[in-house]
Symmetry: C3
Subunit: 257 residues, 3 copies
């Protein structure tokens, strides 16, 4: 069965999300629609890219992901569709889709090139319509002209040396947990045979847990989470509030021989 | 496939919405249920009517829309079902359904007339049960006695003369955009060969955009939106907060020869 | 059709809920997934148990309910699956599932006993996987070792005598209505031939309504709600805010001969 997912910043108190779904159903009632989130902060490309990157591979290959965040984009940004890691993505070329994978794209088209569509609601009138067609088996090359490239912004990078890994908090989740961009792979290689200290705010810790509940209630846990990223939290508490840390703050791991 | 949509003010932190869905599935598991919104402000008929009016026609004809907002209604208000513009609606006759279309209804019944049902949860025990039956092909006349009319309240009207259109903000959406009741049709007729000024708060503008991103970040845009209604916003900003404008405030378009 | 419901405290602005659904769909795309709520307060077992208890029986028998609230649990708590009142439940043995029914369970297993799974995301990696198998017809005994018992905490009890029923507010819903644990059955037996006074905060009332709209706007209503529980509200108002009453406050019914 064809699956179309929706990721928007439209909230849930307006008609926007239902209008997108209604359009999809009206064209092809056999499609399964799954919400990823409609609670992305308005126009927050970073928030949306984090969520999409974290989950798209969990869906079956061939799933079509409609991305309606900052859908108007900047002046000159165009609606695009692309194939990437055997998934399909439809949205505005505002930079968001350039942040979800390091892999090269398999196919890329400008969506508005065959028929120019003038609309203030591209999620419904352009993205949803294209998504249904893709999910129904239409090939990208029938929906628009090939593009050589789409917008790739440089994401926050981890700095890793033999002495130190420096990362940043890339997402504060709804529990207040602080998800960093420090990958387990880098830590595993650099930490071999060394003791280490994890530092954030004024805090220092010498242990990384494997489970949240290895910390006591109200105490810090540090884990490599299900995304393979270093995550700091307070067990049954809100770490962001209690530690005063937020998006973009720095987390360091210091190695000693 | 039969589709039932849900629009309620029940929020998402209680059992209410799931109970309505469970009832529908238990009677007919083949029905596709689509949420319109459960974030309508409690008992806010105007909010609900705006959202329903904006989206119901996007669903396929024959869709059954369950409206669970102010479901108890005032004393004497009864549960009704009606057919309107080839869609079906089930809810309380509290005035909400009278605000969604100017077209005459095709069929109208009192839902509780065949079997009086005493319940504090009419969305589940009356509306959902009726909706499943309608979606499964039962005709309205088998579900209740015909009614001659349902409640029609007078909605905010636009005043249009050769010199001026005066409308009001009928919805502040989740982006903070200000949606008015000024229709593009009226503007197109009255603006022919004239210059114009759009006025709201202390602001005056002489241009209407066709796309949100024709404004720069932080600047006002004015468009006729996908509903054909004049909408004022601030590109990548919250116009309601930044302009200090809210539901029911006035927007004028002044014409000069 | 097999149905799996989801009840979590994960919120809707992260990838967690979509990741659970994607896992289910990837294993068995024929399963119907229904959200109960993802707006449970973080780790609030009482909130989650109230909602689940209120709605699970509305779903068809055989439905599998995935409960992802306080999913890590306390140290030593294990993932379990059980059959209860002909429904299936999968979650952590943190006490939540012990609060949803007084009936004895029909089957009970430790989920992690056949294959130990190390994960910080048990909702996706353990609960969802088990739920799909159960919904697809796999018997509990093939998924883990039988357990003799699961955690049963003692819930707030109603005290009932011939002179008085004393209950507490067990849920403030999104309308601000105050739902107590006082059951209609107890009231019906004890109130026979007696006058009574319902007392909460500084208020006293001598009438119980059968419908919300028997109160005027802004006035208190007292009903036995669709769960058969005494509920206090203010018609078209927020009773919790206006009366200053909240979770765990006391409500009394005093009988006079």
């Amino acid at each position: 069965m064809a699956i179309v997912t929706l990721l928007t910043d439209s909230g849930e108190s307006d008609h926007y999300v239902a209008a997108i779904k209604a359009r999809i159903i009206s064209i092809n009632p056999g499609i399964r629609i799954e919400d990823i989130s409609h609670k992305i902060k308005p126009n927050d490309i970073g928030h949306a890219a984090f969520v999409l990157r974290a989950v798209f591979r969990d869906f079956p290959k061939g799933t079509v992901h409609v991305v309606g965040v900052d859908s108007a984009g900047g002046r000159g940004d165009v609606p695009i569709a692309l194939q990437l890691e055997d998934h399909f993505f439809v949205g505005n070329d505002n930079g968001l889709l350039g942040l979800i994978s390091e892999k090269p794209h398999q196919n890329l088209i400008a969506l508005n090139s065959i028929n120019i569509i003038n609309t203030t609601f591209p999620e419904r009138d352009i993205f949803a319509v294209a998504a249904v067609k893709i999910a129904s088996g239409v090939s990208l090359s029938d929906l628009g002209k090939p593009l050589p490239a789409f917008k790739k912004m440089i994401d926050r990078q981890v700095k890793a040396t033999k002495k130190q890994i420096t990362g940043t908090i890339v997402r504060v989740d709804s529990f207040g947990n602080l998800i960093t961009n420090i990958p387990k792979e880098a830590f595993d290689i650099l930490s071999k045979g060394k003791t280490f200290t994890v530092q954030f705010g004024g805090e220092k810790f010498r242990r990384i847990h494997t489970q949240y509940n290895q910390a006591d209630e109200g105490e810090c846990f540090i884990v490599f989470n299900s995304l393979g990223l270093l995550e700091v939290g307070i067990y049954k508490g809100n770490a962001s509030e209690l530690l005063g840390l937020d998006y973009d703050n720095v987390v360091n791991i210091i190695f000693e021989e």
